[in-house]
Structure formats: C-alpha cells, structure tokens
C-alpha cells in the first residue's frame, strides 16, 4: 500500500536528488543516463505509476496527478538543461590563429594559365581550340606555308630534324615543328570554311638557352577564314584581344613586317608595360613591346591546303605564350618556366 504522506516525502526527496544530479551534469552526453534514472522504466516515478491500481479509487487521482506533475517537471527541466548545454559557450576558446590542417595545394603551370587566359578571350568570338602534332612533316611546317626550300629557316640550323623514317615521304622529313602554323593547313585540309580556330602548343627552335631564348616554347595560333575576313577585321580582333588581356587603355600599334605565309604581314606592339612608352630596358628604349605576329593568309597557303584561293580570304596570328606571361608578370628569365622550382610555381 502507498502511504500518501510517505509518498509525498519520497517525491520531495526524489525531486531534491534530481535537482542535485541535474546540477552535477557535465555534458549533454550524460543527459540520457539521468533521463533513464528518473524517467525510465525502472525509475521511482515509473514504479509508483505502475502501482497506482493498488490504491483505493478515491486516492488514485490525487497520487497519479502528483506523479505526473513531477514527471512533467523532470521532463521540462531535462529539456531546458539540454537546451542550455547546446547553446552554452565552449568553456575554453580555440586558438583560432593556429594554422588549419595542411591541404596539398596543386596549381596549373603559369604557361598553362597564360595559354588558357589567351584562349578564353578568343573563344567567345567564335573560335574553337584545336591541337596538332609536335612531330611534324617538313611539308606542313614549311612548304605548305609558302616557305620555299631556299628559305633560310629550312636549313637545319633553325629547325630540329629527327632521325626517323618519314611515314609519308612525299610530305618530307620529320621534324619538331618550329611554329604552330602547320596546324592551319591540317585543319583546312579536312574542313571547309568558314573557320575560326585557335591552336595552342609547344614549338621548337634550336636557339641556345639564355634569359630570353629557349629551344622549346609555346605558341597560340589563330586562323580566320571565310569569304571576306580582311585586314581591318584582323586589326579589330587583335585590338579587342589586347585591350581585354592587357587592359582597356593599352596603346596598340600594327607595324608592317614579313612572314612568308601572310601578306600583308604585321607585328603588333603594345606600349611598354614597364615604362608606359617612355623607353626603358624592358622595351630596349623603344617604348613599345612586340607581342605577336599576324597577317592576311597568303593565297599560296590556301592553295597548298586545297582551298580555292580566289574564293576565300582570311587572317592568321601567332603569339609566344612565355613572352606574354613574362610581360604580364614582369619575369625577366624564360628559363624559370622550365626549371619548375616550386617556389616559382606556387606564386601563380
């Protein structure tokens, strides 16, 4: 039998004990144990609730109410405490200045980044990117580009030839391409105009290594062919490129030059980025920096590619990626690109 008076005293003691236990809690993870102790199946409250039917009917209501009130109060206090734990500030603050865990950081090589930056300015103008082989035939590298056999750069001093039988002897010997222009002809041979293509890639010339020469470097080549692309369009396209790449206020000039595969040909200069056209050691006191070569495609190139030179016209341009990267980042030694010192690469 439950003695109601004794019960009240038991419940009071229970409430005190609960209060102390709740106070002693050190973390949210101990809440469950406390909940089991005071509200679980074997808790005092549960035991008493189970024994309610033993009471006379007139007392059941009163005792049951007292038990339930206590139960609800425990629930509420546990929930409140849980909330307090969740929102309680961390006792000892982190030293947030400690370095974060090391994440190995990878980067693209500055040549790749510069190349991508160049390409991405032309792609919205309708250019597509095409790659060609580095191991090239003499015919594509020279003859097809209107560089006759008597041209000085045909001599082995200006091109690396390789010791291999040519799979297609009528295309001449195999060599390491000295420019990306042969890809122009390869593409024209397999596709009809209109064409707007970009050709990125490595090229090779037997220049002894020094601060401004490397026997291997990278180019981005462009070719536009349709029925009316003219010299004026060439100027507009490249001016747009220069202004986007070097900044809208960059002064640019087109200067007559000579390339066997274009006529008229031009070199494009920008006002020296170091001295703003005043003349300094970067620009050789000229005030201008040469950044690319270009011109209207020579009809002989169209003929070599199998196009009807009377019906099509267009322009081509080519730029050295290392040179552009050197100008952009103020690098004075081209060899840095190929040494791959991580302290250099990490900057990009």
């Amino acid at each position: 039998m439950i003695d109601p008076a004794q019960l009240q005293q038991t419940l009071n003691l229970l409430e005190d004990a609960f209060g102390k236990d709740l106070q002693a809690l050190r973390g949210a993870q101990e809440l469950d144990a406390l909940r089991a102790k005071y509200l679980g199946r074997k808790s005092v409250v549960a035991e008493h609730l189970k024994r309610l039917p033993e009471l006379p009917p007139d007392q059941r209501g009163l005792v049951g109410k007292a038990l339930n009130t206590l139960k609800e109060s425990f629930e509420a206090r546990l929930t409140a405490r849980q909330h307090a734990f969740r929102t309680q500030p961390v006792a000892s603050a982190l030293d947030v200045t400690l370095p974060g865990s090391a994440v190995p950081r990878g980067r693209l090589h500055p040549i790749t980044q510069t190349m991508e930056a160049i390409l991405s300015l032309f792609v919205p103008m309708g250019f597509e990117i095409i790659e060609g082989p580095e191991l090239e035939y003499e015919w594509y590298n020279f003859d097809a580009l209107n560089i006759p056999a008597s041209h000085p750069s045909r001599e082995s001093f200006d091109t690396f030839f390789v010791d291999s039988r040519s799979p297609e002897p009528r295309r001449g010997r195999l060599l390491l391409r000295s420019h990306t222009s042969p890809v122009q002809v390869r593409v024209m041979q397999r596709r009809k105009p209109p064409l707007r293509i970009l050709v990125p890639g490595a090229v090779f010339r037997p220049d002894p290594l020094d601060a401004s020469h490397s026997f291997m470097f990278h180019q981005v080549e462009g070719l536009v062919v349709d029925e009316r692309a003219n010299f004026s369009d060439l100027k507009g396209t490249l001016t747009a490129f220069v202004e986007r790449f070097f900044g809208p206020a960059t002064k640019v000039r087109f200067r007559p030059h000579f390339f066997p595969f274009t006529e008229p040909s031009a070199e494009v200069d920008i006002a020296c980025t170091a001295c703003r056209g005043q003349g300094c050691s970067t620009c050789g006191r000229k005030g201008w920096l040469e950044i690319l070569g270009c011109g209207m495609v020579h009809p002989n190139v169209f003929k070599a590619a199998g196009y009807d030179a009377v019906k099509v016209q267009g322009f081509a341009f080519g730029m050295g990626v290392e040179r552009i990267a050197m100008l952009k980042y103020g690098i004075t030694d081209i060899r840095l690109f190929f040494e791959n010192d991580l302290r250099f690469l990490e900057q990009f």
């Binding site: 090391a102 020579h298 190929f338």
Partner: protein
Amino acid sequence: MKVPLEWLKDYVAIRLKPETLADRLTMAGLEVTGIAMVNGQAVFDIEITPNRADCLSIIGIAREVAAMTGQRIKLPQRQATSDKRQARTRPTLRTPHSALRIRIEDRKGCRRYIGRLLAGVTIGPSPSWMQRRLLACGIRPINNVVDITNYVLLESGQPLHAFDFDRLAQGVILVRRAKPKEAMTTLDGVARTLSPDVLVIADAARAVAVAGVMGGVGSEVTPRTTAVLLESAWFDPVIVRRTSRALGLASESSYRFERGVDQVGVETASARAASLICRLAGAAEQACRDVGAKPLVKPAIVVDASLASRWLGLPLSPAQIRSSLARLGCRVSSSESSPLLRVVPPSFRRDLIHDVDCFEELARLIGYERIPATLPAAIMPASRDAQSPLYRNLQSIRCLGASLGLMETVTWSLVSEMELSRCGWTAGEALRVTNPLSQDYAFVRPSMIMGLLRAIHRNLSQGAQGVRIFELGSVVQAGTVAHERASLGIALAGAWSRDWRTKETCDFFRLKGLVDALIQRLCGQPATCRAADVSWADPAEAARVFLKSRAVGAIGRLSRQAASAWDLDDAVWLAELDVTSLLQAQRALESAVAPSPFPPVKRDLSLVVDNAIACDQVASTIREVGGAMAQRVELIDRYTGRQLPPNTYSLTFSIEYRDPARTLTADEADDVHHRIGQALVERFAAHLR
C-alpha cells in the same frame, strides 16, 4: 643595318626630325631599333626583314623615304671611267690587259659577273669623308680601293671585290665549284679546305675567293697593287648561305647575296665603284667584261582594285593604287575598260611577285594605322563545339591533377642519353634529334619520367620538404615509324602534407589513390594494378595499370640505381599513364540512378589468408558472391603481425547490404554475408575471425 642620316641626305631631302623619321620608317616596316650619335651625326640602326634585300643599302632606304614623303630620289651620276686623262700615272700592266678572260662554269651559282680592269691605281688612304661614313657604319677603313668597294656596297647593296690583277694567274677569272678538298686561305687568315658544294672564284691555277663570302690571301689588293680587277656579280643565295654556314664565315657580302641582289644593280654598282676608283685612286678603266645572262624582265602583276579593297577592308580606287605603286618605282598601266591594273615592279623589288604583295605595299604607304579596326562579320555556325574534345580533355586532366594537390610542371621535351639510360631506356628506343643543340637535349622524350625527375631533383636539392608534381604532354615512341602520344606523368617525393597535427609521407598507395581517382573520373571506370617489371622502377614496388585488360600505364618506386644516379636520397614515387589510351576508353555516363531510400544492413568481415593471396582476389570474391546486394565493399583494415600464423595476414572489410526496392532484413543480409564467408574459406582457405 647602320644608316648615317647625313649620308642618306645625299639621295633624298629630309626635313623631318630624326625621331620623326625613325617613327615613320618603323611604321613603314623598316624598324628603327636605335638612333646613335656618331661625331654629332645621327646614325639609325634599322632592322631589315628578309624579304627586303633592296633595303640593305643607303640608297634602298632613301628610296623608301622618297616613296613615303612623295619625293624623287637623286642617284649618283654616272661618270666616265675610261678617259685616260684621269689617270695620274701611266698604267703599267705586268699582265697585258688583253689577257683578261672571265668564264662562268657554274651558271646556276652565278647568273652575272662583271669584271672591270682598272690600271694605274695608286694605293693610299681613302678620303676622310669616306672613312667617316665607313666608320659610322662599323667598317674599318683599309685603303682607297678596298674602301671604295665597301662604300659602294653600303651605298648600293651590291657586294664588290677587288683583286690585284697582276696576282691572278694568266689574268683569268673562272667561276666554278671548288674541287674536292681544294685548299684556300681566306682573308681572315684561316686556311680552309673546301668541298664541291662551295662556289669559288679561281684564276688559271687556284681558287682565289669564296664566291660571295670572302676573298683569298694572295690575290688581294696590297700597297704595291697597280692594276685592280673589280668584281661585281650575282651569286645564288642558297649556295652562298650554305657556304657561309658550312665555313662558319659571314660577311657584309654574304649577308646581301643570301638575301638576293639586283641583277640590274650588278652593273650600276660596278660602274659607280669604277668611277670612284678612277677619281680617287688615279686609275683608268682598261677593260670591262659582262658575262652571264641578261637580267630577266619581270612579268607584270595584275592588281584588281576591288580585290585590294576587299583584302584590306579599305576602299581604294584604281587611281590611288596607281599613284601609290608608282611612288615605289613600279610601272603601272591600265585600260579604260578594265578595273585591272598591270604592275611591273622595278628590278630591285624581287619580293613583289603576287597581287597580295602589292596589297601590302599599298597598306604600308597608306599606313597600317589608317586602316580601320572592325570585327569579322560572318556568323560562325553555333553547332560546333567551342573547344575540341582533345583540348578540353587535356585541360580537364590538368585541372584534375591540380585539384588533387599536384603542381603542374612543364619540362623540356628533349632529354639526354644519360637520362634515358638512368630510366632504363636505350638510345635506340628514343627518337634522336639529328641536329641537337647539345648532348643534354639530344633525344625526344619517350616518357614523362625524365623531366619529372629533373624537377624532383631540383626541388629537393633546393630544400623542398615534399614534391608533388604532374605533367601532361607529348612523348614520342621511336620504332620503324616514330609515334607521338599524349602522356601523363606524376611524381611524388618526401612529405605529402606536414603540419602541427599530422605528418604524412608520400608512398605507393598515396600515388595509387591519385591514379585511381584520376582514371575513375576521366574514364568512368576503375583501374586495376598488377605487379610487373617497369624499366625505371624497383621490381618489388612496381605495377602496370590496367583498364579492363588494356595496359594504360605504370606505377612504382624509382629504382635504387636510378635514384642514386640522380643523387636522390628520398624515395621517389612515379606513375605514367598513356592519355591517348585513357581517352579512347572514355565512357560518358548514360543514366544516373536514384539512391535507395531503404536502410542498409552493415556487417564487417575479418579474415586471415596466406600472403600469396592478393587483396584484390578477396575483394572481387566478396563482390561476386555479394552480387547486387553488397552495394559497398570497403577494406577498412589490414594487419600483419606476430599474433597471426606465419606467412599470413588479416583483412577486414566493411560491407553495406542494401536492396534498392525494399527494406532488407537482418536475416537476409546475414545469409549473404555467410555465403561470402564460405566462398572465401573454400577458395582461399581463409580463416574467418
């Protein structure tokens, strides 16, 4: 080329300031790269493009200035040379001048040869005005006759040579190929052995000059010379260039012959020099022989005004074209009825061949800066991909490499024989460069490994704690036919990551994880490794990488021998993948599956097996028996140790069973789990734990 302004003014009036003139020339395609002051006189340094041989002279530049400024050029007056009264002393010829005979044996090598015999020469210093001009152009004065040949060369662009006529055996000039191993000492004092590739000037006995390049010792003008044979000729550009290269001998003469001289100018320059020698060295002309072909009349170029306008994007009338080209010395004719112009360029403009060459002249004279800048009008068909698949694929591999924590390198694709052999290649297996710059760069790389090792070596020797790099590029496999492929190399050495909480070093499995991630991402399917010998790797730690049954690469630890040859103390982990194969194996994802909403049943499986059983065998048995229900099979522990029987090791897999369509019961999962265990016991005598 050096151009003293005061000399230029002999032929054309110049009212512009030097800086302004320099700018105008540059913008006309004759780039002035510097202006020097020599004795108070401006001297331009002008870069002449290879097509403009006609501008390799003061007169050539003057012609350009005249055309630019709309003036006429004033050429030196022709003067009589055979007037005997000019001779201060009577000519004394030891060889009778009637003996002079000139014969061209090699008509390809020499189209025209003019020899003028000038007798009664008094050798002495040239006048100071001439010496000043030569010095301003960087040429050292020698004596009046030699200085005159150099002066006329600079003035007209036509190289000349003066022989001492009395020292030419029998007064004979023969233009022929050198005999095999023919010996000659050139004027620079070097004894040379010639080959039949070389064109020489010979007398009756021996070679006396390398044609177009340099004269020989023994026939040159000396202070005692009294009779001069003045040579003015046209030599073949290719032969002169090859000779100059082969002998390692370049001169003002060879430079001009290589680019081509004017066949008409051969005579003008000869007459000009002869008149100067008569005037300044007291000589009189005794004989003149002009041998060889007469200059060809250049065919007319047909220029269509409307095409010129369309080509340049600038409207041009036939009249404009006519007057512009006439300023350059072209003869232009047209008829009323036709819009076409017939243009005959002057003999010295060997570069004007096609109508487009004339278009460039028009653009140059108008000024490139006055042509408007527009954008191409044609609309490009939008159906095509903006980037070709190859470029996009290569670029995505590069981005993947960088995002996996690797630094991209770009190394030279030419390597040395030593680097090849260190990595296990023989010279025969790599493509040799016929004309390498040096033995360090004599082969086209057959693999990315050599370049990566260079980069590893550099960085470790510079004190890097860890090097994690990759490179994507072309490699060439030698063989009966050289074959270019795209290749990806990865190299790891030292620390992978290092901070105050963890220190991780690079090892085989770190690298394998990168390779797996890359291939899975690129090809949409997993790669497998099988232990194999790899030329550059340590045999105990090397494997070939397979995609299905196709070998796509290799992975392993750099062999101890190679590491020691490279002076590397740290272990270096290398992988090379054949990107060409990987791209061929690419599979696009065709459809995606919604994840099952039903809960999984997770079970671990621990077993002990013999060392001879590879982990992959166990895992594939689990997958095979588990079938579709074993949705995830992960190796979570591998243990070797003393607690285990000898020559065994233990593996623990975590397996997640799941049914895509319903909730799997524990009994169903346990049933499959049990069958897997049985299969492992039967196949590998595994001991389940």
